[in-house]
């Protein structure tokens, strides 16, 4: 477990499937939960459990975010690892949009970026967010991510077309920016 002041990060487990399904069902589409066709689905518990049993969770790149009281608050991880070009995609989903503005999101991102840059030795981390996810977008900018561009009309929903912003953070920017360094109080017992 990675224990911070406001957050506890641990590897995802199949028992978390109920919580993850709630993330799909509530609060509209989220970039982190789109599939490779950019569709926002409604997976069953069984499908989520199977996903968690697949390679990415066993390679320990999927995490559940808990608050200090042990309540499940979010899902995050590193995926689409490209060893040759040394990059991966970071994703984070919280149960409430306001969490992205708080210390829980900061500690979560710090822990993920530490894993990507310092443990996996990657050179670049990508992240995506829909134009409706303003708080996530602000959170990524706060951690040094910069936009690589916006893909227009990627997702269709009841509110019409949604665009998708892809952001990147490279190792040099991460290490040179004190705000993106490891979060205070984060320890890995």
């Amino acid at each position: 477990m990675i224990i911070g002041t406001h957050t506890v990060l641990r590897f995802s487990e199949p028992e978390d499937a109920h919580f993850y399904r709630e993330l799909y069902l509530q609060g509209g589409a989220k970039a982190a939960l789109l599939d490779n066709r950019r569709e926002f689905g409604a997976p069953t518990l069984q499908e989520i459990r199977e996903l968690l049993k697949k390679s990415e969770s066993t390679r320990a790149f999927l995490f559940t975010v808990e608050d200090p009281e042990g309540r499940l608050r979010g899902w995050c991880g590193l995926r689409a690892l490209n060893i040759e070009a040394a990059f991966c995609e970071l994703f984070v989903v919280f149960d409430a949009p306001e969490e992205y503005a708080g210390p829980m999101a900061d500690e979560t991102l710090d822990a993920l970026l530490d894993r990507a840059f310092n443990r996996l030795g990657l050179q670049k981390v990508l992240a995506t967010c829909l134009d409706s996810e303003e708080t996530l977008h602000a959170c990524l900018l706060r951690h040094g991510f910069q936009s690589c561009g916006v893909q227009r009309d990627v997702l269709y929903g009841k509110e019409g077309w949604r665009s998708l912003d892809t952001l990147a953070l490279d190792r040099a920017t991460h290490t040179s920016n004190p705000a993106t360094g490891p979060g205070p109080g984060a320890t890995a017992p």
Binding site: E39, Q151, D153, Y156, A168
Partner: protein, 208 residues
């Protein structure tokens, strides 16, 4: 979908297996598109068979593979629409021309143009995406000519021969393609068969 008297696009089928297999083993295929030199022939074969696998008529396919074929020279290349989302009416496109001499020819531009027409007019798609490596200038120029916008610049995104190169993400919306089609349609109006015949007749009459 014929676009000259002798060249056309058609759906790829099982009989094309060996041709596509040879293309996928081409180092250029792996350099410009995808694949890994470490793949065994069996792995490549399985991938192609999976590509050409039939889906029942009542299932919306998630990919469509079109072969560019000429009557004289047989299969020349392949255009694939992948990750088709019928909900978002979008897909990604890959283009591969087997014959190196033809890669910068008009054949590629026209093939892509016709394939885009098929995607927008027949499949009723709204958006087509392409991820193209920065060093593959010929490809991204063709997409720009078709009206696609460079939406993404992904720095140091792909490793080739020990070097990291940028990748560009292109997006083409239906109305942008229609605008280009209108523009080029107007330009090419005067190149119609009737005007060519009239021009030749005039030349013949004026010649001594």
């Amino acid at each position: 979908m014929s676009f000259t008297t002798s060249t056309y696009l058609r759906r790829a089928d099982r009989d094309d297996l060996d041709t596509i297999l040879s293309w996928m083993e081409d180092p250029d295929f792996q350099r410009f598109l995808y694949g890994d030199a470490a793949q065994s022939p069996r792995q490549i074969r399985e991938r192609v068979i999976q590509m050409l696998g039939r889906s029942p008529g009542n299932i919306m396919p998630s990919a469509v593979y079109l072969l560019i074929e000429s009557k004289e020279n047989g299969p020349l290349g392949m255009i694939s629409f992948q990750n088709i989302s019928w909900r978002n009416r979008s897909c990604s496109i890959d283009v591969y021309i087997g014959d190196k001499i033809r890669r910068n020819s008009m054949l590629v531009t026209i093939s892509v143009f016709r394939a885009l027409e098929y995607a927008f007019d027949e499949l009723n798609l709204h958006r087509i995406s392409a991820l193209i490596y920065a060093f593959n200038r010929a490809s991204w120029r063709i997409f720009e000519m078709a009206g696609a916008k460079r939406e993404l610049v992904l720095p140091r995104h792909v490793m080739r021969e020990g070097e990291l190169y940028d990748a560009y993400g292109y997006g083409l919306l239906r109305h942008e393609f229609n605008a280009i089609r209108e523009k080029h349609g107007a330009v090419s109006e005067r190149f119609c068969l009737e005007s060519m015949i009239a021009f030749l007749s005039q030349n013949l009459e004026e010649s001594p």
